[in-house]
């Protein structure tokens, strides 16, 4: 639609990010786009020193978070990107769980002028279609009555989290479910406000379970007595190749395994 607003920078992510910084310095709102590991890891110093240090209006849009491109091998498994980007100064992380949150997060990119990281899944994702509220750091997917346990899901694992909730609800172990799609300066307050009433909070992400979304939630809740358990990947599957569901199952990120983990953790702490 706007060909003069699109620049193909070729297979050159460091230059692309530098150009983005230069345009943003001159007042433009800029989006960079690539498959998840490439416009993050490949050019992280440009993101750090040129974009984030100068607090520039650049949104780094990644497609293929988690195992979205699982068949293509480890070079295309985006399983450390949330942690990496969370370390940058001034950045907001935008991690939508469904199409409605993608819309919210895209609007957020236009509204705010600090650096942003927008992590998408892939077309053809099974997107959860439950009704969510307006754009917020945390959207409620399901809230029961007096539940003492909540799942905080982020990014493109929401459909799995939703199935976990259904499984647990069926066996009378009701849990509440939230999708956290924005990590910005309001994150800590929002997480504390939402989680205040819970005894257990489980975080789920298609990302390493350490130093990712779950760790940010643990940090936010560190002054509370809430038990926060992070569920995600470890590095044991790094040489595995296959479709997204296959790799999720291999990594224990399937609804059955997660539901059992939640039950056994709760039993252990009781």
């Amino acid at each position: 639609m706007f060909p003069d607003r699109f620049l193909n920078c070729g297979v050159a992510e460091q230059n692309m990010t530098g150009i983005a910084a230069g345009l943003a310095l001159e007042g433009y709102k800029v989006f960079t786009y690539s498959i998840a590991n490439f416009n993050t890891f490949r050019c992280i110093e440009q993101i750090r020193n040129d974009v984030c240090y100068n607090n520039l209006d650049v949104t780094i849009v990644s497609v293929g978070g988690g195992f979205s491109y699982g068949n293509l091998g480890y070079s295309h498994h985006a399983v450390q990107d949330i942690g990496l980007m969370a370390l940058m100064p001034n950045i907001s992380l935008l991690l939508p769980g469904n199409s409605m949150q993608v819309k919210y997060c895209t609007n957020y990119s236009f509204e705010f002028s600090n650096p942003k990281y927008l992590r998408l899944g892939k077309t053809g994702d099974q997107l959860n279609s439950e009704l969510l509220e307006k754009c917020a750091v945390v959207n409620t997917v399901y809230r029961g009555v007096n539940n003492n346990t909540a799942i905080l899901s982020t990014s493109n694992i929401l459909s799995v989290a939703s199935k976990v909730k259904k499984k647990l609800n069926k066996i009378n172990s009701d849990i509440d479910l939230y999708s956290v799609s924005i990590i910005d300066k309001n994150f800590n307050e929002a997480i504390n406000r939402i989680c205040l009433k819970y005894e257990y909070v489980f975080t789920i992400e298609e990302h390493l379970d350490t130093l990712g979304f779950g760790s940010l939630v643990q940090k936010a809740l560190e002054l509370t007595s809430i038990k926060v358990i992070t569920l995600g990947l470890d590095n044991s599957t790094y040489k595995k190749v296959g479709g997204q569901n296959y790799l999720r199952n291999l990594s224990g990120l399937d609804p059955y395994t997660i539901a059992n983990k939640i039950l056994s953790y709760k039993k252990k702490f009781n």
């Binding site: 003069d4 620049l7 920078c9 070729g10 050159a12 460091q14 230059n15 692309m16 990010t17 530098g18 150009i19 983005a20 910084a21 230069g22 345009l23 943003a24 310095l25 001159e26 007042g27 433009y28 110093e45 440009q46 020193n49 040129d50 240090y53 100068n54």
Partner: protein, 276 residues
């Protein structure tokens, strides 16, 4: 905006003043990189006196030319240049190297007149492509100028930009290479040989020129030729320079990449500059 005609006597005196102020700064801060700072003094002299449109009173004027120092470790001679031209008070130069000084030991955009902070090499050129592109999009005729070192041409990120700039037809972009042929741990050509530089850039699609980087009139004439050129290519000036130029015992000496002058060396150096 500050721009004056070529005046050899005035420019020679200016270069000397920059070296004096830079030497003082580095000695008092016990700092490094004097060799790198001194090799680019004549380039800064011609740029800031005759070529870059920017006002010390309005350094953020949107119509200004943008100058980016990619070799940010050589910031001291740029800071001296800006202070002498009244972008900020000369006294502030004494704070270089101190806690919480705005004069960071790699060039900082907190300093009036400094366009972009650098410290890691290979960053400013890609950024300058974005800046020059913005000028094109807005149909503005201000220029973007980047000063780089030869050592930093080792960084691959630069070559992504060297390949792309001609494709983008950025004839409003000028790159200057301070080619002092030395880098931190040795001679450039012993580490990664860069020559033939002109041929490389010519074949990449750049308009190229090569000068003695300490000859003020050669620098001036080359930049003027670039400015008046109707060739729709980005421009690159390779300036052959001497690391540590201006102090006899510092010239072409790798020691002076990192070494900071002690009291004796400082006294000897200042004596040379006073008698120059």
């Amino acid at each position: 905006m500050n721009r004056s005609n070529y005046d050899l006597k005035k420019l020679t005196k200016f270069s000397l003043e920059v070296r004096k102020k830079t030497m003082e700064m580095i000695y008092h801060a016990n700092a490094s990189h004097i060799g790198s700072a001194f090799s680019m003094v004549e380039l800064l002299t011609v740029l800031y006196n005759c070529f870059i449109n920017i006002s010390s009173k309005h350094p953020a004027d949107p119509k200004r030319d943008r100058f980016l120092l990619s070799k940010g470790h050589a910031c001291t001679s740029l800071y001296s240049t800006l202070a002498i031209l009244d972008f900020f008070d000369l006294d502030i130069l004494r704070s270089y190297g101190s806690d919480n000084s705005i004069l960071m030991s790699h060039v900082s955009s907190e300093v009036p007149g400094v366009e972009f902070s650098t410290g890691s090499l290979g960053h400013a050129l890609p950024v300058s492509l974005g800046i020059a592109l913005a000028a094109k999009k807005k149909s503005c005729n201000w220029k973007t100028i980047v000063l780089m070192s030869d050592g930093e041409l080792n960084e691959g990120s630069n070559w992504e930009a060297f390949l792309m700039a001609p494709q983008m037809k950025l004839n409003n972009l000028i790159v200057i290479i301070d080619n002092n042929k030395m880098q931190a741990l040795g001679n450039t050509d012993n580490i990664i040989n860069l020559e033939p530089l002109e041929l490389k850039f010519h074949n990449f699609g750049w308009q190229t020129s090569r000068v003695n980087g300490h000859n003020l009139s050669e620098i001036y004439n080359s930049l003027l030729e670039f400015e008046n050129s109707s060739i729709c290519k980005p421009k690159i000036l390779i300036a052959d320079t001497i690391k540590g130029k201006g102090i006899s015992f510092m010239e072409n000496s790798l020691l002076w990449h990192y070494h900071s002058p002690d009291a004796n060396e400082y006294e000897k150096a200042m004596k040379e500059l006073m008698n120059a």
